[in-house]
Amino acid sequence: MSDRWVAVLSGGLSHEREVSLRSGRRLSAALRADGLTVEEWDADAGLLARLRDNRPDAVVVALHGGEGENGSVQTVLEMLGVPYVGTDSRACRRAWDKPTTKAELARAGLATPDWAVLPHATFRELGAQPVLDAMVESLGLPLILKPDQGGSALGARVVREAAELPAAMVGCLAYGETVLAERFIEGTEVAVTVVDGPDGPEALPAVEIEPKGGGIYDYTARYTAGLTDFHAPARLSPSAADAVGELAVAAHLLLGLRDVSRTDAIVAPDGTVYFLEVNVSPGLTETSLLPMAVEAAGRSLGEIYAGLIERAVTRTA
């Protein structure tokens, strides 16, 4: 039990505000159950005044998307000298950009599906159809389009036929100006949570995601209880389970992540483990993957985050 008092930041103005509010409520309840004093704060124009007038022992950033994951809020916390749980601002900035993380991990020898990054302007200036044709020629079909930044699969579209591409591009570009097009790997989709501990980063059991009816793990499948089956731990061979854990820890270390992260990966039928993306502020809702991994590890959300809060306070002290 801890007697720390913490502020859990949730909400914000990103497209993932609702998910973040749910994460914040769930985490706050878990921390209160562990004896901590918790206030839930929105990331709004009153935040700095609250931090100055009522400074907590530490802040936990449960913001998803935008300012909560791109390093902006972390920068403010650093400038004010407020201890916080999570990755520092510079590493956040790098991890926030999906193509950057893929490039860094590919350079380190980790497998990640082939990809191309294209802003809307390129299609406009060079002509959409020739660029789309080149994209299909280069990456093949099916492929998945994602906004280059952001989470919760918002804007993600799986494209199985070339004719679907223009509509999928328009849908994806509603969430940002740049699209990450990635070869779509069929396989076992897993999410691996990594938590820093006294002996370094530790991978919790992988959670396998199995959307019902063979669909993709999109926003609806993520946040409607019952639309997706989960297996925790994932139904992987011991060697594959080790491989996904090693991949997640490697991503955590190579990208300079801190305290907690979640890596999404695909295990292809040939056993290759592909890195998809990393999340520095994983969802903590009733349908989120991190709490399932925590449970599969025989631990509790409150205990893990209370430990991370202690780490945050002591590293700043």
Partner: protein, 439 residues
């Protein structure tokens, strides 16, 4: 061990909803949605929300209301906090008749059933008339909360076209003929004749008798939903359909727009036999509408200048309507058209061909403006080129700023479509329960 009615989907799988196989088929569309999630952002003050239909309550005399409610508890608390009749408080039903008289309705208080907002009246009417597969006619577009109720009772909605003068009688005849040709049965026409939600138009007086006559000829009941009738910007009112056909019209009214939405007090006025069934249906749903809230409305009507308050509301909404129309004229890109309401809360905007207002919403939220995309107001997947803009809640300055931002969003979307060409529309979900964002 698996509990009765619960089956694991696959060996060792963990479903986060152990009740999944127990739900009724009608829950199939009740899923999380990207678009609904965006409205969590729209509620933040940084975003100009032109989406919600929230009344402008700042115009209410809160001090005197507070004193009145305190006095009510002090003097009649044991009645106000007790169960009441499913029919509604008698004194309020009498007062409701006085309110309806403003639009030409002559009614007996016994034929009024007080409900938890007119949304409940709508639900009760659908419950007592519709079996699964029955057809309901409704203007296209129509109120999303009505479509949600019809879907909940598995009624099939057939839309009837409108123009600037409201529902088109010829289109009504065509719809009735088409349904009859399919061997289906129309149970009622659901219509919002005045200051339509979402279209903003009003059924021309010259069309009213014809609409009623067509429905009579075809044995179709009329459900007249009139929450905005007293909010004509020039103080004008229109004769209610109910006023000229009391035996074939069920009339729905509400205090949500003329007084206070949070009290959830509405009503149905129905022919005697229908009213009896509505009371029984209401009893099984809620036992009775909240007595306290009914008495608050009743006290308000007897002690406050409620007609003056409606005038205050009208003037506030007219100022906001003017702000929206002038901003639309100033900023909207070519190819956009919109309605010009004489009352109510809403403008219905049509955007250039190929643009999907639902798919565009994330871009709008990024630019800190929100609207209600048009598909929610249709049961048949139309409406992708439309959006509803509400001018009821934001200040005129915020409305102008919101329209300016919306124009930027549209310019960006037009560019996107110029790049990729017109694209087929993506998936569309059917109507769900109304939220404050679309109600």
């Amino acid at each position: 061990m698996t509990a009765p009615g619960q089956q694991p989907a696959t060996q060792g799988a963990r479903s986060l909803d152990p009740h999944l196989r127990r739900y009724a088929a009608r829950t199939a569309g009740m899923t999380a949605s990207e678009i609904r999630a965006l409205f969590a952002v729209a509620s933040r003050p940084e975003v100009v929300s032109l989406a919600g239909g929230m009344p402008y309550l700042a115009a209410l005399p809160l001090d005197s209301l507070s004193a009145e409610i305190g006095n009510l508890i002090a003097t009649d608390g044991l009645v106000a906090l007790q169960y009441g009749s499913a029919h509604g408080v008698p004194e309020l039903r009498e007062q409701i008749c006085e309110v309806m008289a403003l639009e030409g309705i002559s009614a007996h208080p016994d034929d009024v059933v007080v409900t938890v907002g007119s949304q409940m009246a709508l639900d009760m009417v659908t419950r007592i008339f519709c079996d699964p597969g029955d057809v309901v006619l409704a203007e296209g577009p129509s109120y999303v909360g009505a479509l949600g109720s019809f879907a909940a009772y598995q009624a099939q909605v057939v839309h009837v076209a409108m123009d600037d003068d409201g529902l088109i009688p010829a289109a009504l005849r065509e719809a009735l003929a088409a349904v009859a040709a399919r061997g289906q049965r129309v149970k009622f026409l659901y219509t919002i004749p005045n200051f339509h939600n979402p279209a903003g138009v009003t059924l021309a007086v010259s069309r009213r008798a014809e609409v009623l006559e067509i429905c009579r000829q075809h044995g179709v009941l009329v459900v007249e939903d009139n929450p905005y009738g007293l909010l004509g910007f020039d103080g004008q009112t229109y004769p209610a359909l109910r006023s000229s056909d009391p035996d074939n019209v069920v009339y729905l009214g509400s205090f949500s727009k003329t007084f206070a939405a949070g009290l959830r007090v509405g009503w149905a006025l129905a022919p005697h036999a229908v009213r009896e069934k509505l009371v029984l249906a209401a009893e099984s749903a809620t036992l009775c509408p909240p007595t306290l809230n009914q008495l608050v409305v009743s006290r308000y009507l007897s002690t406050h200048d409620w007609k003056g308050q409606i005038k205050t509301y009208r003037e506030a909404y007219r100022e906001r309507r003017d702000a929206m129309l002038s901003a639309l004229e100033q900023h909207m890109p070519a190819g956009c058209t919109w309605t010009r309401p004489d009352g109510g809360f809403y403008v219905w905007l049509t955007v250039p061909e190929g643009i999907d207002t639902k798919a565009m919403l994330p871009r709008a939220v990024t630019q800190r403006v929100a609207y209600a995309s048009g598909t929610g107001f249709y049961a048949d997947r139309l409406g992708s080129r439309q959006m509803r803009l509400s001018f009821c809640y934001p200040t005129p300055e915020r409305i102008k700023e919101g329209v300016r931002r919306l124009a930027n969003v549209l310019e960006g979307e037009i560019q996107l479509h110029a790049t990729f060409g017109s694209t087929p529309r993506r998936e569309v979900s059917g109507p769900q329960a109304p939220s404050p964002d679309t109600a």
